[in-house]
């Protein structure tokens, strides 16, 4: 199986590479349009800042490439956020695959720390990504911005308010959490994506 990871300026792609290797897949890290289009699966990972990431993608024409992909693509963390219409982080227009805007968490009580960091549960799982998982599995999150609930929400998590922990539309999949850091649950989710 040919798995391509989108190469751009969003750090820490090592953990995604290692997680795929543990599943027996040797991914290619690339910003080449043809390689991305012809891969069996594409992963759009990320940690970083939205407006810098969007600028980098636009300068290289990767925004158009990602938008026009027909093969299954999985956005992770900032990857999910960049697949939305607009992000409050750096006030930037994003890829517009999901018709929703990314906003920052607003703490309601002192205990509501931002970023939302650590293990939290998934509810209302509604995607092939979650096949074979028990109820309310724990996955690992690190983020200060979130995607509100919308038509493309594929799982929810509650932190300060319920938000989109995962999304799905056509061949576009995304998770706000890090499956590559979520132990055996995360492994199963990545495996489910590879088997789509």
């Amino acid at each position: 199986m040919k798995v391509a990871i989108v190469k751009y300026n969003a750090g820490n792609i090592y953990s995604v590479i290692h997680a795929l290797q543990r599943l027996g897949v040797e991914p290619v890290l690339t910003d080449d349009a043809e390689t991305l289009r012809t891969a069996d699966k594409v992963i759009f990972p990320g940690q970083g800042e939205a407006s810098n990431a969007m600028q980098y993608l636009r300068e290289r024409g990767l925004d158009e490439v990602i938008r026009s992909l027909k093969n299954p693509i999985l956005g992770i963390c900032i990857g999910q956020q960049l697949m939305c219409r607009h992000s409050e982080e750096g006030n930037v227009d994003c890829l517009g695959i999901f018709d929703v805007d990314v906003v920052r968490f607003q703490p309601q009580r002192h205990e509501d720390k931002v970023p939302h960091m650590g293990w939290n549960t998934l509810q209302e799982m509604n995607s092939k990504l979650f096949e074979g998982l028990k109820e309310e599995p724990y996955v690992y999150f690190v983020h200060s911005y979130y995607v509100p609930l919308c038509n493309d929400t594929a799982a929810t998590t509650n932190y300060i308010l319920p938000f989109s922990a995962a999304m799905h539309r056509d061949n576009f999949y995304a998770t706000q959490f890090h499956p590559e850091k979520s132990g055996s649950i995360g492994e199963q989710i990545l495996k489910n994506f590879l088997e789509l």
Binding site: R22, T121, K181
Partner: protein, 251 residues
């Protein structure tokens, strides 16, 4: 609900884990990568690896170990010890660490926190604080608890928070290795004064101590070493116990 985190800490010297009582009398306790994977399978929520080697050779061994951990462990891990510059941070993150912890280097040059937060993001920057309480109150120490400073714990923790630290890892030197519980009063005050998560460290000897760190100390995570390494407390049993005490943990 967001779970309270249980974090085993592995002190690493020349590629092997060790753990001291009150920061001395080191005892050998195994291969860090194997131990890390075992803890991950047992349900540890994160891992911390602290490089306590001073030599250049030891540093290289540690970076190689970080790469092996990243390849073999599927939960987040933090590395610390001897991180003094942006180059050190970059090297550890490039080796696959999710977060780095800085201690003495941040006390000596607090701007390092801003630089890490601005360049890599707050989420990778754990500021570790070793502090001891005496008649004057809580004082921060440098170099693994060897050199006292002029800085008070709360004052320094607030500054680190403001500069962009992602988490505070607070070790009470009074409690470390003594196994009579965490410094819950100081923890609760940190938790109230800061807007970022607080990790309790130093003093774990029984399951109840973890409960108290989360309830009385209001900590977001609790870290321990020897009670886990020598099997005195097993993580699955600890989590089972905590959930009977109405503390949300990942199981």
């Amino acid at each position: 609900m967001l779970a309270k985190r249980i974090i085993p800490c592995l002190d690493v010297k020349d590629g092997q884990t060790v753990k001291g009582t009150n920061f001395v009398n080191l005892r050998q306790a195994g291969d860090p990568v194997e131990l890390g994977r075992m803890y991950s399978e047992q349900g540890a929520d994160e891992l911390v690896f602290l490089d306590i080697t001073a030599s250049h050779e030891g540093r290289k061994t540690f970076a190689e170990m970080v790469e092996r951990v990243a390849a073999n462990v599927s939960i987040p891990f933090t590395v610390g010890g001897g991180i003094n510059s942006m180059e050190d941070v970059d090297r550890m993150l490039s080796a696959g660490a999710d977060k780095i912890s800085i201690n003495s280097a941040a006390l000596r040059r607090p701007e390092l926190i801003d630089e890490i937060a601005n360049h890599f993001g707050s989420q990778v920057c754990v500021v570790a604080i070793d502090a001891r309480m005496d008649e004057q109150g809580w004082t921060c120490y440098l170099n693994g608890g060897r050199i006292p400073t002029e800085r008070g714990l709360f004052d320094w923790a607030r500054e680190a928070n403001q500069r962009g630290a992602g988490e505070i890892l607070f070790t009470s030197m009074n409690h470390d290795g003594v196994k009579t519980g965490f410094a819950n009063e100081a923890l609760a005050r940190l938790s109230e004064e800061l807007t970022i998560p607080v990790i309790a460290s130093g003093g774990a000897g029984a399951k109840e101590h973890f409960r108290d760190a989360f309830t009385l100390g209001k900590a977001d995570a609790a870290l321990a070493a020897s009670v886990f390494h020598f099997g005195e407390i097993k993580i699955p049993e600890l989590k089972e116990y905590l959930s009977t005490q109405n503390i949300t943990v990942r199981k």
